[in-house]
Every structure is written in C-alpha cells, then in structure tokens.
C-alpha cells in the first residue's frame, strides 16, 4: 500500500465494503471520508492520541476508518476488558482522548476527553487533508506487570495482505485484536463484504448468519474451529476458505476440518501482535516445513534458544508501557516466545516460553494468575502452568498449597476461584485447581517452572 493513503481512502479506492455486525448494524467505509459518526467535529481529534472504546466492533471499525490519518495514535481495545484494565492500557499508550458509544457507553473516558460516536447517525463531514501517518496501537498479552502496547502503522498491518475481491469475509475473532484486524483490513482493502459478530450473538447464531450470507472466507483460532466442529446446528455451513491462527493448529483439528469441509482450502497462519504475519501453511499438517527457516524472502524465520524469531515488514515498530522491553534484537528479529522444535523436515510448536499459557488464542502469564490466587488468605503458595487441552489448546492449572489447618476441598476451590476471578480477565481465570502439600523450588529458592 502506498505511503500516506488513509484506510478510508484505500477502502474507497477498493470500491467500498459493507460491514455487517449482528443482524442489524452495517456501514460502508466508502462513505466515511465525507461522513462521520462523531457527535462533534472530528477535527478536534487531529494529532491526538485516541483510544477506541466502543462496545461493538462495527462502530470501532468505522472509527478506525475516520481516525486513520487524523489522530497521531489510535489504540484498539478488544471487547470484554474491565474498566480498570482499559484505563491501565490507555496509560501505557499515553492516550489523551477516547471514542465512546453515544448510547450507554461502556467506558466514560476515565478522566480523558470522551468523544461520543454513533454509527447509525452519520453526518456530513469535511474530508481530511492532508492526512498524517497514524500509529495503530494494540495491547499485547501474556506479559506480567503493567500492560504493554505494540505500535503498528497501516503499512505494517497491511504488509501481508493481498486484496482479493469476489469473496465475503468473516472472522470469529474480535477485529480489535491482531488476527481479526487482519481480516477486517483485508475486506476493506478488497472492497469486499465483511461479517463480524454482534454483542449478544452466540457463536451458533453467528455461524447460522454466515451460512445465510454465504460468506466464503472465515478465520478463527483452532479453538473457535473446534467449537464450530462440535456444532451440528448449521449443516449447510461450507466456507470455501478456512483459516486458522492465534494458537497451535494440531493435526486433529486440521483433519476434523478436512472431514467437515472436504472442498475448502484450509490453511493455518502464524502471526502475532508483535511479530506480524510470519507464514501460511496449507499442506494440511501441523507445524511448518523446516525449509521456511532457510528462505531468503521476508518474513525471515530462525530458531534461537528454542524459540521462533521473525523479521519482516509486518512487525510492530516498538512496544510502549512501563518496563517494556526492546521489541527487536540487534538484527531486527522479533522473539515470538513460541517454543519450536525441528523434527526432520518439519518444525513443530511446543508451547510458550516462561510457562505462558495460550488459552484459545489469548496469552496468559502464570505470574498474573499466581498473584490473583495468592490474594486469597487461605493460599500459602501456588504455581500456575499450562495443561495441553484438545478443546482450547491449553488451559491454566494452578497447584495450591493451602494454609495449615484449612480444609482443602470444593468449598475452598470455589472461594479461591471467586476471589481470583474478581482480579482476572475471564480467559485468565484458572480452569483447574489442584491442592498439593508443597511446591518444588529451584536451587535459587524460586518457584520451579517447566520449560
């Protein structure tokens, strides 16, 4: 994509997209050069650092179209975040204004200037000129401590996208996360139809809607797809292109998809918020060909100390936030933290370094979970770890040493889960608790962790 072409201009040049979110909401970004959903003059956001904090995905995508080229930085916030976490992410991204829903806002700006946005009340607006290069900021996951935010540009985000017209797109992801955003941008740059799920819509209802709309290209995590494979309510669901990303695609889910969608093109992509898109594998097997490690074209891949490193045009520029580490090594490679083992001519993913758990595509740091579990007064010590799981890829298991004299049983289990749940995001809440008499320590006195 050429420099300084804004998202709305690029979408307009592609011919315009219709976005359908839930049974009702829709918009055509073609119009957003000259129309605006802001209740006040959007030019007040020129050069500002703006968070998009709407409940639904469709207004968030419309706001992205309006803010690209206008704001100095825009921060995408996926749905379902607790207000205090949203505020902490905004602090990390040095945000000074927020786009909020005009009706029943889920977020009030927490002291920042709030700008009301309404997708079903577009009004005429002046086109933006000249546009500036907007930074696209997205929170990363799986780190402990204060939130970290990866900074992209429209160019890094679209580096792997080859616009393809003639197919309608949909994603099980939240389009404010990297994997979902890839599909939304692909649809916008292709002038293609895009369907995203609406608030309150169940996954089964979403699949039924995609079937009625004859959507051809559907992306999601292996966990999203396993769920779809367990859903017999829409036998006519038959996308032409099935895409998996965000977590390890194992042979079983790939074979299950092949059996369920015999004529579909099935591929799994490797991508992350930090490293961008690494590669796409379409031979129906888990992992990726070891030959990818030797290729000279971007993105380049190498394995260093057991983890995959990626260097390519899709990588984020840098990380923001207190104590944020350097994103790239001295040669410009991003360390993915994904453990990879070479077996013959194939490379297989083994999990995440540092005990980080990938639960259905969302990374969780064990330290974050342990801190929440330790907040319960009857917990003396605990250790969170990943357990492989055929439904969600992995789940979080916490071994707990209970305080002496406390009865370790179902009542305590429930109390600990309730206490931890109040401090964690839904996907971070431990799936299983195991009471143990003691936990092993390393020679240095630290909690021993595998891998």
């Amino acid at each position: 994509m050429p420099e300084r072409l804004t998202l709305s201009a690029a979408a307009a040049a592609a011919g315009g997209t219709t976005v359908v979110a839930g049974p009702k909401a829709s918009f055509a970004p073609l119009s957003l050069e000259r129309l605006s959903g802001f209740s006040s003059d959007r030019r007040a956001l020129k050069g500002r650092r703006v968070a998009i904090a709407t409940a639904e995905m469709a207004p968030a995508l419309a706001a992205m179209c309006e803010l690209d080229g206008l704001a100095q930085r825009m921060l995408l916030l996926p749905g379902g975040l607790a207000a205090d976490l949203m505020s902490a992410i905004m602090d990390a991204a040095e945000i000074d204004a927020a786009v909020v829903d005009a009706d029943q806002p889920i977020f009030n700006g927490a002291g920042r200037d709030a700008y009301a946005y309404q997708l079903n009340d577009l009004r005429e607006a002046e086109p933006l000129s000249p546009p500036i290069a907007t930074e696209w900021a997205m929170p990363t996951s799986g780190t402990s401590g204060k939130p970290k935010v990866a900074v992209h540009t429209l160019n890094t985000l679209t580096s792997a996208i080859k616009p393809t017209a003639g197919v309608a797109y949909a994603t099980f992801y939240d389009i404010r996360r990297y994997g979902g955003l890839q599909i939304a941008l692909r649809a916008l740059l292709s002038g293609a139809f895009l369907a995203v799920s609406g608030a309150g819509e169940t996954p089964s209802e979403f699949v039924a809607r995609l079937t009625r709309l004859k959507v051809g290209y559907v992306s999601g995590t292996p966990s999203h797809w396993r769920r779809a494979l367990m859903d017999a309510s829409t036998p006519d669901f038959a996308p032409r292109f099935v895409r998996l990303s965000g977590e390890i695609a194992d042979d079983r889910v790939l074979q299950g998809l092949r059996a369920r969608f015999p004529s579909a093109e099935i591929a799994h992509a490797y991508a992350s918020t930090e490293a961008g898109v690494g590669f796409v594998v379409d031979d129906g097997k888990a992992g990726f060909p070891a030959a990818f490690l030797d290729r000279n074209e971007a993105p380049e891949l190498r394995i260093v100390d057991g983890t995959l490193r990626v260097r390519g045009p899709g990588a984020a520029l840098r990380l923001l936030g207190e104590g944020a580490p350097a994103l790239k090594d001295s040669e410009g490679f991003v360390d993915s933290g994904d453990l990879v083992e070479r077996r013959g001519d194939r490379c297989l993913f083994l999990g995440r370094r540092g005990g980080v758990v990938n639960v259905g595509g969302q990374k969780v740091s064990p330290e974050t979970i342990e801190a929440a579990v330790l907040a319960h007064p009857d917990v003396l010590a605990c250790r969170a770890s990943a357990r492989r799981n055929p439904i969600m890829g992995a789940i979080v298991v916490v071994e707990i040493v209970a305080r002496k004299g406390v009865a370790a049983g179902q009542d305590l289990e429930r109390a600990i889960l309730a206490a931890a749940g109040a401090r964690l995001q839904p996907h971070e809440v431990p799936a299983m608790l195991k009471f143990v008499p003691e936990l092993p320590l390393t020679d240095g006195g630290k909690l021993a962790r595998d891998a």
Binding site: R226, M230, R252, G256, R387, M392, A431
Partner: protein
C-alpha cells in the same frame, strides 16, 4: 462407574464451578446447548482424563468431533473399550 455417569456428574460439577445453568442431560442434547461454553468443555475433558484415564480427543483414528451428548458418551466408551 460408567463413562456416562462420570460425564454427567462432571458436567454438573463444571457447570456449578463455572456458574452456568446446565440443560437437562439427555442423549440427543446438542453439546453446545448444554450450557457449557468452550472453556467449560475444556475443563470437562481435562477432568474426565484425570478420572477415566482416557482422552478420546487425543486419538488419531477418529477425526470427527462429537455433536450431541450421546455421541460424547459413545466417544468415551470407545476410548475405554
């Protein structure tokens, strides 16, 4: 205890832990209408592996995913046979 009894009991326990309302359990109940979400099923399968010593989802000779509760029970019965 049969696989069926173990599955039904664990489903009730997981639903209680996850604060989900469980549907009336019957063979023709679609799994996705049972009241458990994906995480609930993930926990169920892990607990059943601990309890029954089997994870039929890990078998490579059966690529189909069960759709109903009856199919899930048959899935475990096969793995335990």
């Amino acid at each position: 205890m049969s696989a069926r009894d173990a599955i039904f009991q664990e489903m009730r326990d997981v639903a209680a832990l996850q604060k989900k309302r469980l549907a009336t359990l019957a063979d023709d109940l679609p799994l996705l209408d049972s009241g458990l979400d994906s995480l609930g099923f993930a926990i169920l399968v892990a607990r059943l592996e601990d309890r029954l010593g089997a994870d039929p989802f890990a078998r490579s000779d059966n690529v189909k995913f069960p759709n109903t509760l009856g199919e899930l029970v048959a899935f475990y019965d096969e793995a335990l046979a």
